[in-house]
Amino acid sequence: MRVTLHVWRQKNARSEGKLVTYQVPQVDPDMSFLEMLDVLNEELVGKGEEPIAFDYDCREGICGTCSLVINGRPHGPEGGAATCQVYMRNFHDGDEIYIEPWRARAFPLIKDLVVDRSAFDRVIQAGGFVSVNTGGTPDGNTLPIAKTTQEKAMDAAACIGCGACVAACPNASAMLFVAAKVSHLGLLPQGQPERARRARKMVAQMDAEGFGNCSNYFECEAACPKEISVEFIAWMNRDYLKARLTEPDTVTPGMGAKVGPSPVAGHDATAKKHPVA
């Protein structure tokens, strides 16, 4: 089969970007989407032209490196799959395919289709952990955990940190990403001592990074390659609210982590939305 691609090309954050059209004449339906781009890039490099920069690594849907908005959908047409797991058999001969980067203020563009997602790392650095040092931990079986609790925590922990939730959200909100970690740890007994503090610190950092608020579009859930449920957002909101009421107001955004490229936005109902440019 043959497809026509319209790919976002941009030399770096300072230059202008534009959609460039490429023909890929010989596509095997069993190829993955990224293999199709590899074939195109091979051709470009062979001609001495710069290949299209895009992110990938494990190519089995677990590292969270690959991105791409394909025909307006983060990770493309298949539900529950990362871009590297999308196969050309989902497209048709003669299709026009638009490929764009994740677009969000908190994810500045580096080149072509590659964006900087370090804002996610800083949210984790602010509180996405259980504060235990190495050594001195009790035997693993001294802490029985109900199978259902563990399964639910695992559902949330399955997040691969790809950022599709942000790319899909009209507000560029990171609520699903943050909620997944707040819930994973907050559901488990190990996460209880820091539960309130964690929710507050992670939310504060999320706001500081310039992610928008949630207004229940639920586009994040639809785009999530791991099909993480928006229920966790409700879970986090309850935790956050409880924390605001019960914990002293000592949390400041950042707390040692570097603040991202965007100005601070408040996390409350009156906060300004961050529509995608």
Binding site: V45, I62, T65, A158, H184
Partner: protein, 637 residues
């Protein structure tokens, strides 16, 4: 070169305990005066970074990824071994130790392996405390599954994504230290050389992948936790970015490279299709708990699998290895698959595949149970092949997966270059000639959480805190060499892509130095590799410049290193004139086609020393002495 393994004296069972009592300590007030540079943020690197920072050392961490969480440990599926004996099925530290040593075909260092088995107990506790959501039984206690090469159930798991959860645990511990300002984290930072001065490792040269800036970082010690080199084969189950550059550069600066020919070919991967594939996908070994491996008995049998009745099927692993059956170790299962396909009994495209069939397990336990255990793996298979494994058996074939070889280290995990430590898959120490399933995660975390925290003290306590200035002559010289190499690659402006040359190298290695090797083939490979290298340095095309994100340039640099390293791999395979574990020399097999070791001549570690460009590297031997175990023929029958 002197190779002193520095194994402590005394009985095997108490070596590590005594070591910990005797090792020199660095006082809390002094720890912060030392700076440790850590390259790589997989299980070993992230665990080491978190642990050393918690102890108070100054730590700087480098990864070429955009985030530490992307390291390839994240892709490990099946599980992690630990000798907890929670199942009451007869497991013990001794048994895990013995299984690992035997699994490695008696080509690893006894004392290191025993320590690994001991430390396995702490890893599970540590991970549980971090909130790793290990699978549980209804009573709330931890669940286990079985893996190859063991007759006990000692593997802990998180669905089919154990590596992900363990890595996120380590990543979160690392992130906590970053947030508290105790670790400086450098992402998009690729190490391109090691700075050696006064015969000690003193720093690294790093390229910022976003800006192309080259700069030196110096420290009191350098830890490489940069993974393995399976991608030298071009097609492997490793992530696209995995590469040999960091360890190979260290080798060229004087660190010995040990047993490069010990490569693991994993039996259960999705077979190759098309020429455009860049990587292969693993199907976890855990599937062999319930899946039965078979091919038709007759080579002419082309019926679809559901129309081949039981008597016409050959469940060859169960037939050949009745006591381990489908859970035979990886090297053995891979060779058996190759054998039946060589006989013309392979299935699928090109006859390079065998069935992994779940019909019996689903009939016995029900589809729901199989779905719960392996759902995500079945989905992954379905997405990739377009076939539904609940209805049609999976088709699998072996592929390069892991490398047991790596930089030589002593009991302290320090290389022969003082100040250079090597952890995880990047070192050679624990898996001998073949690694058992679920032992890579164990080793990565053992090295990072529980071993380096003690052993780094043995070096730092003898050293005054203080590091080379970043503009010292050694730094500037090394930076200069890195820059020259990059300009040289960019200036070739040839006709061929680095991918096509890498692909050709991979095919050559797979044919000549893959699952089966012989003298003639290896000699051919050793002739072919320099020609490919020549082709690269005269005809590679790398567009763009070195001043911004240039993925073609990054990749070409890695391919250039593979083109040199591949020669070392083949030379080691040629020199080791015996079969052991994953290294199968066709000249040395038993009547039944099993690997035949030659303990009299080859019970040693091959540690190769770089001798200069166009010179053959020098072979140094560390003899393997077994204090408690008597190497025997490795039988799984």
């Amino acid at each position: 070169m002197e190779l002193d393994a520095k194994v402590p004296g005394g009985p095997l069972e108490t070596k590590w305990e005594r070591y910990r009592s005797d090792v020199k300590l660095v006082s809390p007030g002094n720890k912060r005066k030392y700076k440790v540079l850590i390259v790589g943020t997989g299980l070993a690197g992230a665990a080491a970074a978190a642990t050393l920072a918690e102890l108070g050392y100054g730590v700087e961490v480098f990864t070429f990824h955009d985030s530490p969480r992307r390291a390839h440990s994240i892709a490990a599926q099946g599980g992690i071994n630990a000798a907890k004996n929670y199942q009451n099925d007869g497991d013990s530290v001794w048994r895990l130790f013995y299984d690992t040593l035997k699994g490695g075909d008696f080509r690893s260092r006894e004392a290191n392996v025993y320590r690994l088995a001991e430390v396995s107990l702490n890893i599970i506790d540590q991970c549980v405390a971090q909130g790793v959501p290990f699978a549980r039984e209804y009573g709330g206690l931890l669940a286990n599954r079985s893996f190859g090469g063991a007759q006990v159930s000692r593997t802990f798991y998180c669905r089919g994504q154990t590596g992900q959860q363990l890595l996120l645990g380590a990543y979160q511990a690392l992130s906590r230290q970053v947030g508290e300002g105790r670790i400086a984290l450098h992402t998009y930072a690729e190490m391109l050389d090691l700075i050696v001065d006064d015969r000690k490792a003193q720093g690294i040269v790093v390229r910022d992948l976003r800006t192309g800036a080259i700069r030196s970082y110096t420290g009191d010690a350098v830890i490489l936790a940069t993974g393995g080199y399976s991608n030298v084969f071009y097609l492997s189950t490793n992530a696209a970015g995995c590469n040999v550059t960091a360890t190979f550069r260290a080798y060229k600066r004087g660190a010995a490279f040990a047993n490069p020919c010990y490569t693991q070919i994993h039996p259960t991967c999705i077979p190759v299709r098309g020429d455009y594939q860049k990587k292969l996908t693993l199907m976890s070994e855990s599937l062999r708990n319930d899946g039965r491996v078979w091919v038709p008995k007759e080579s002419a049998d082309r019926r679809p699998p559901d129309q081949v009745p039981d008597p016409d099927r050959d469940y060859y692993l169960e037939r050949m290895y009745p006591s381990y059956g489908n859970l035979a170790p990886r090297d053995i299962a891979s060779r058996a698959a190759k054998k039946v396909c060589d006989e013309g009994r392979g299935v699928g495209e090109g006859g390079r595949g065998v069935y992994l069939d779940f019909q019996d397990a689903m009939a016995r336990a029900g589809e729901a149970v199989i779905r719960e255990k392996y759902g995500n793996l079945f989905d992954m298979y379905h997405e990739i092949t377009g076939e539904d494994p609940y209805r049609v058996p999976m088709r699998i074939y072996p592929a390069p997966h892991y490398t047991m070889g790596g930089l030589w280290v002593d009991y302290n995990l320090m290389s022969n270059l003082p100040g250079l430590f090597v952890l995880g898959e990047a070192n050679f120490s624990d898996h001998g000639a073949n690694r058992l399933g679920a032992s890579a995660l164990m080793q990565g975390l053992a090295d990072g959480y529980f071993i380096i925290s003690y052993t780094i003290g043995s070096y730092l306590a003898t050293k005054k805190a203080g590091r080379l200035a970043a503009d010292a002559a050694a730094c500037r010289q090394t930076e200069q060499e890195v820059k020259q190499r990059i300009s040289r690659i960019l200036s070739i402006k040839g006709k061929r892509t680095a991918t096509s040359i890498h692909h050709e190298l991979g095919k050559l290695l797979w044919d000549r130095c893959g699952m089966a090797r012989n003298e003639q083939g290896l000699k051919k490979a050793l002739q072919g590799i320099p020609a490919l290298r020549e082709e690269f340095w005269h005809n590679v095309s790398v567009p763009g410049d070195g001043d911004d994100l240039n993925q073609a340039l990054e990749y070409a640099g890695r391919v250039a290193d593979y083109l040199e390293f591949a020669e070392l791999l083949c030379l080691d395979a040629l020199t080791r004139n015996e079969s052991c574990g994953g290294h199968f020399r066709e000249e040395h097999q038993t009547l039944e086609g099993e690997a035949r070791r030659d303990d009299e001549q080859y019970s040693f570690v091959s540690a190769w020393e770089y001798a200069g460009p166009d010179k053959s590297p020098a072979l140094n031997k560390e003899p393997l002495r077994f204090q408690r175990v008597h190497p025997s023929e490795r039988s799984y029958k």
